[in-house]
Every structure is written in structure tokens, then in C-alpha cells.
Amino acid sequence: MATKKFMIGVVPVGDTPVFVAKATAAHISGYLNLPTEILPALDTPSFAYDEKRLQYNAGIIIKTYEALEFGCEKVVALLDIDLFIPLFTHVFGEAKLGGKCALASIFRLKMERDGSCPAPSLVYERAAKVALHELGHLFKLRHCEDNRCLMHFSGDLEQLDRTPIYFCRYCNRFFKDALVDNSDSSFNS
């Protein structure tokens, strides 16, 4: 399958509703001005299930997905499972700097600390923030100190809700530069 230049693939995984994928894709298009494509859904990654922790290992999922050919430059997989990396109790999403595939999970985004359910629109917005943040890492953006930037690290839902859905001007600049670099390497490859 030929690689589509700058096409960002959005893959719903397992039980993730397709409209969450659609909302995330719309946010990516809207805020980053990049074309997106909803890719066929993948099965729940049971291969990454950790029976001791009763969670899914994000590192293993990324490793597996990066070996797949999606036909897009970068891919964001949207999941509805509880993700972890060995260090942490949980993660909302995960991506490697400069990698090809990012994960964003809505599992912990659809329930407040007090057990209540937030409005669906808030869940979509949170999912889009996590997806865009992880996508930033795929374009080699690091965590930003500015808490008014999407690349600022959010450890919990309160922080995530306070974080805006756009980059600060420095990260925006880095993102655009990274996009140009990516474009060059794509043309050269």
C-alpha cells in the first residue's frame, strides 16, 4: 500500500465507538490542518493484557502496531481499555518521540473521580486532547512547561480539562518545522 503524504490515520480499536474516532479526526483536521482518515477498526489487543495488573501494556501495543502497515504517515489508535506502562499506575495515552503510532485511551476519560459520568462532548474533547498531545510526540515535540499548551503534561483529569487544545507558539513552531522535516524525509524515501 502506498504511503499517503501527511495523512494522519485514526484507528478505533476494540469497543471504541466510531464517533469518538470521527470527533478526534475532526479535531486533528481542525487544529493541525492535516488531512485525516478513519481506518478500519482493530480488535482489542488481548496480547498486551497483563493479568497481574488487569491492564493493557501500552509499550507492547505500540510495538505491535508500529509493525503494521496502515498506509498513513502517522497513526493514532483510539482505545477503550485501561493502559499502563511499567512505571506508572496508568496512562491516558502513549507515544514514542518520533514514532509512527500513538495510543489514546478513553477508558479513564469517561468517568470522573467521584464516579459520575461526564457529558459525551467532554469525553470527545478529552480524547482529542490526548490524541493531539500524543501526536505531538510522534512529531518529536516534548513536554512543554507552559500550562497553556497542549504539550504540557497532564497527570489527571483536572489538569487535562485545564489544558487547552492548542499548542503554544513555540510548540506550534516546532510542530510546523517537524512537519517540513517529515515532508522532506517522506519525499526522499
Binding site: I85, P86, T89, L97, F153, G155
Partner: protein
Amino acid sequence: MKENMSIMVVDDEMIIRESFSHWFEKSGHKVSTAASGFEALDKLKEYPFDLLFVDIKMPGMDGIEFLEIVKKEYPDTFVVIITAYGSIESSVKAMKLGASDYLLKPFKPEQLNLVLEKVAQQKKLTGEIDYLKGCLDTMTRFDNIIGQSKAMVDIFELIPEVAESEASVLITGETGTGKELIAKAIHAKSKRNAHPFIAINCGAIPDSLLESELFGHQKGAFTGADHARKGFLEVVSGGTLFLDEIGEISTKMQVNLLRVLEEKKITQLGGREPIDVDFRLISATRRNLEQDIKQRNFREDFYYRINVITIEVPPLRKRKPDIPLLVEHFVKKYSRETAKRIDRVTDSAMELLNNFEWPGNIRELENAIERAVVLSKSRTLDRKDFSFIRSAPVEPEKTVSLSEMEKEFIRQALEQNEWNITRTSKVLGLHRVTLQKKVKRLNLRKSG
């Protein structure tokens, strides 16, 4: 402003090392990993890390053992203990040993960020404390003289007593022993400390210029005197004048200074009016002035005037217990100046520095440390960093007679000229017959 730190993760589990690496890279920190305490210690020798994340349970050397070594050898490095086997005892022990924090695996992502913020804050405070300590060291001049040897302790006790009096002081000692520092300490402890301390190296200034520098001159006093200028004897008013290498000044200048010391008045070059002066004289020399007096190179009356109190500063080779202290002081000084982190000097290097004779005394030691700090690529100064001082040990002092010196000197000249009498006599500026007689008298024979 966020400060990026150099971090090392020490954990035997590869998955944990990778997790940390990816996370820290995303936060812009420079990260390295080690699978054991031993590997981490090797890396620490090569590169200064700000922060270490150390697992408690590791084969070979456990985290607590490793923490103890790190805190002993690299006290400025922050350590955060991580473990999946947390217990109150191990966390208390780790904190007592100097760990900055303690994390139980797995932890919430925001906990790691809090730890990083806390360590960054501690690092900033440590940096500020170091800076202020440096400022304080510079300000407290008396404390700049370092030593624990008996000779130096005696001098430390003498300084406040000498400072109280107004008597002239003569400081003797080899070059580089810190004579000026002692003069400054006396000034700093004296009642004159609110007034200037002026140091003049008499050996570095030609006699004619020295006169004008000390006494000052009127406009037109000599060619080039375009304007009137006050001399140091006048400028120092109320303070202390330190004349280094006093043994180098001419007898004429000695007479002039003697008069000033007796009358407390000077007359500028080209001037007529005497000017009152008020200063305390501290002189220093590396020469044996009593010998110079015998050879009529130095005036006896001037000698007794400047030598009311004598302080003899021993050469570094006679105050070996001070070397480790001086080394530590200079390592800190140049680490700060060059912004290089040097934590320690190895035992082997210290042994080399202790055994060296240091003919240039403290100045030479200071230069050696500065050079080693500048050129070192690791945070530990080892023997190899001082390879440049190996080849120049000084022979122990030995008194030789003039005839022995003459014999040795002629023997060397003969050997350099392959025992050719004509050639050697030309080199030595002697008649060949004279040289032949000397060779016979001194019983010099070609060896081999």
C-alpha cells in the same frame, strides 16, 4: 524556566529502564541507563549526573548499598529510590542515607513530575549555596590561607597578635608560599583594615620607576612627567604598604625608604614640600637578607627597621599535611570557575601530589590543579590527570662546597664536549692550561 537535568536510571529490569528513558526523553531530559550499581558507578566516573533513579532490589549491589557509595563519593548527586518492594524500613534507611525521595512502583505519572520539580528546586538551592559560599570565601581573606600543619597553625596564631601592633613585618619564604596572603591577613585583622592595602613587587619595577611610583612626582620632574602624580606612600595613607621582593631594591632606595620610615614624611620627585605619610610597612623576600648584608648588598640599618617582626613561611615540601587541604580548596575553586563538576581526587593522585616536592610551592600546586581541572574529562581527578608533573621531582636539599660545585660543573662541561680540553676551555672561558690544571687538581677523570 524549566531546567533539563542529566538523569541516570539504575534498574536491573530492562522494561523499567526503557520506560523511564522514553518518559524522560519526552520531558526533554538527558537520560542514561545502567543495569547494575557497578555499571552506574562506572558511568558516574565519566559523566556528572544530576539525578539518579535507583531500584532497591538489584543483584550484586542493592540500591541502598549503591546509595551509600554515591552519597559518599558524589554528594552533590540527587538520588531517588524506586522499588516495587516498598517498606517503611527501607524508605527510612534510604532517606537517612541522603535519598531525596522515595517512589513505589508503579506510581502515578504526576508523582514523577512532582519529584522532578522537587529535585530541580533542591539543585537550584544547592547551586545558590555554593555560589554564596564562594563569595564568602573571597570576602573572608584571612580564611584564604589554608593549612593544618604545625608551622601554619603557629602563623595563624601569630597573625592576630602581629596585626594589633604597628611594627614593621618581614615575611620570608620561598616564592609561591603565600607571603602576600599573610600580609593581606595581617592588614585585614589590623585597625588599618578600612584603609587601602597596596602591594608592590619591587623586583618587577626598575629602580628609577619605583622611586617615582612610591614617592610620586611633580609636573615636569623628569621627561614624560606631564602631570603631577601622588606616590603609593601617599595614596596608601592610613593603610598597609606591602613591598614584595624587598631584597631586590637598590641601596639608594633603601636609604630613601629608611628616611621615610623614620621621619614619616616624603618629598615628591621635583617637589620641595615634605608631605606627612601614615602607613604600616610589611615587606617580603625570598632572599637571605642576612647573607646579603654580609655581602654589602643590603643595608643593615634598613634591615633592622623593616624586620621588627619576622614571619617565616615554610615551603610546601615542609608542610605536607597541608597538601590535601590545599588540593581540596583549589579543586573547588577551579570547579566553580570552570563550571566543571569535579567531585574528588583519587587516592592514587593524592599520593602523587603528596610525594611531589613542589619547588614552586603553592603557586605551582594551584597551577597543577587548575590545569588538571581544565583538561579533565571526568568528574574525578586521577593520577593520569597529573601526568605532567611526574618528571620533575626536585632533589632533596644538600649543602655542597664550592669546590664540589666547581668539580661537577667542569665535569659536565667536559662530558658535553667529549673531554676535548680546547673546546671545553673555550666554552668555560678559561685558558686551556688553566683548565688542564683544574682537571688535575680536582682529580677529574673520563668515566668508562
